[in-house]
């Protein structure tokens, strides 16, 4: 299990780096999907199959498709690749990279420390997740659903057809 973890963690790190450095937006998104999938494998290896499946269905399967969809709609060609090339200069990425290196060093120190060792937990099936979500954490679920409802209403408002549009030629369509 530990080997599985290290391999998929390495895949996740490499693919995430590729997300940032790739110049073509669709290629970057593809690497982001790989990164999400490797995180799902980590969840699965540590006994959380339900979370792993949701990670794939919701993040990799739904949210990222929307990203790809929007980028396809914009259909930016080679011009944006050139623009991106000028954007990523050393003075821009040097700062964040150094800060991240500090975090990485801390993380490695924690891993080497005996108490911080990664441990394999017992498997938690979908039933346990459901029971604790709708039992102990019910309030959180309700709050999240209210947030989603707000988002839904907002999206409806933005996408609504105004009465004038309806009169101008679109009236007979549906």
């Amino acid at each position: 299990m530990i080997t599985v973890f290290y391999i998929s963690a390495a895949v996740a790190v490499i693919s995430t780096v590729m997300v940032i450095t790739k110049l073509n937006a669709v290629h970057a998104l593809l690497y982001l999907i790989v990164s999400l999938m490797s995180v799902a494998v980590i969840f699965f290896a540590f006994g959380a199959p339900f979370v792993a499946a949701l990670e794939l269905i919701i993040y990799a399967g739904a949210i990222m498709v929307l990203f790809v969809f929007v980028i396809m709609m914009l259909n930016m060609g080679a011009r944006t690749v050139e623009e991106e090339k000028q954007l990523i200069t050393p003075e821009i990425w040097l700062g964040p990279a150094t800060l991240t290196l500090v975090l990485l060093a801390e993380f490695i120190y924690l891993l080497l420390d005996e108490e911080g060792k990664v441990s394999v937990i017992n498997g938690i099936g979908p039933k346990e997740v459901g029971t604790s979500l709708l039992g102990k954490y019910l309030l959180g679920v309700e709050l999240a659903s209210m947030l989603l409802l707000a988002g839904l209403v907002g999206a409806y408002h933005l996408g609504r057809r105004s009465p004038q549009d309806r009169e101008q030629g679109l009236a007979g369509r549906d």
């Binding site: 199959p49 794939l56 269905i57 396809m72 099936g125």
Partner: protein
């Protein structure tokens, strides 16, 4: 050691069985379509034209595998692989008979949903990577259509999950010993079949390829074996959805007289023929009609099914 060998036999058996079915379907579909349209269909190569598939395969392998210069090469090559891979991965959670299945996963149904949502990328990216406007239009349609219908597909299955009390496909089949879920979950079945047709982008919902408006849609630029992959991927999808309808709503391997595995394949074959009959008989709707049907009819239906099932289960105290 014996355990490992047995498992390997099952893995390769499942792979071989479903690849053969998917390949054979090319012939079955052409023959059945011909029958319903009052003509012969392929009948020259071998008995009943059965070797037509082999002839087609030889042709497709021998064709020039052309990548257009304006295409995005790595993504263009990757896209057809994804559709076959995601379909084949989904077959792993299917139980063919008691104890006969590649993996006995307690999140089996969720795994299938995850794989089918990854399958969307194949079509979408193929449309984008081809670099032509017709392909792009096809890819855009595919993304919106499959993303929407995935929602109802997942919701329609939750009634089954509630009645069986498990995501494990084996447990779901066992739970249907008294009554097949097609009776109490009739609404779920209807929604699942319609969204299954939309997920596999078959006629009448094949708007991503819609040859009368978009040339061939997302695979307009594909040729040779890469086109063949899309073709086989589509048939794998049909087989997968049919096998799932049989497993989730029609008792999977359950049935009298014949051994379980025979029942599984009989039921699957019936639904595959249903898919082909749909193609032979229904016209293609307009794109906005398809989306409106999804969000205005299928979503309320599947939500109503979900809530009624939950209420009934609560009231009966199961």
């Amino acid at each position: 050691m014996n355990d490992v060998t047995g498992h390997l036999i099952i893995i390769f058996g499942v792979l071989f069985a479903f690849m053969t079915i998917a390949g054979g379907l090319i012939w079955v579909e052409r023959r059945l379509l011909a029958m319903w349209q009052d003509r012969y269909g392929p009948n020259r190569v071998g008995p009943f034209g059965l070797f037509q598939v082999i002839a087609d395969m030889v042709k497709i392998f021998a064709k020039e595998d052309w990548i257009p210069p304006f295409a995005d090469k790595p993504v263009f090559v990757l896209a057809p692989v994804i559709i076959v891979l995601s379909a084949l991965m989904s077959f792993t959670v299917l139980p063919l008979a008691p104890g006969v299945g590649v993996v006995d996963l307690n999140i089996g149904l969720l795994f299938f949903l995850a794989m089918s949502s990854l399958g969307v990328y194949s079509i979408t990216l193929a449309g984008w990577a081809s670099g032509s406007k017709y392909s792009l239009l096809g890819g855009l349609r595919a993304a919106a259509q499959m993303l929407s219908y995935e929602v109802f597909m997942g919701l329609s299955l939750m009634g089954v999950v509630m009645m069986a009390g498990s995501f494990n496909l084996g447990d779901i089949v066992e739970a249907q010993k008294g009554m097949w879920f097609c009776i109490p979950q009739f609404l779920g079945l209807a929604v699942f079949i319609i969204s299954g047709v939309a997920e596999t982008h078959r006629l009448p919902f094949d708007l991503p390829e819609a040859e009368s408006e978009l040339v061939a849609g997302f695979h307009a630029e594909y040729s040779g074996i890469k086109f063949g992959m899309f073709f086989v991927g589509e048939y794998l999808g049909i087989t997968l959805i049919s096998a799932l309808i049989a497993t989730l709503f029609f008792g999977g391997w359950l049935g009298p007289v014949f051994p379980p595995i025979v029942w599984f394949f009989i039921k699957t074959a019936v639904f595959i023929c249903g898919f082909i009959l749909l193609r032979a008989s229904l016209p293609r709707p307009r794109y906005d009609q398809l989306m409106a049907l999804g969000w205005k009819v299928m979503l309320p239906l599947s939500l109503a099914n979900l809530m009624v099932t939950a209420a009934v289960l609560l009231a009966t105290g199961k």
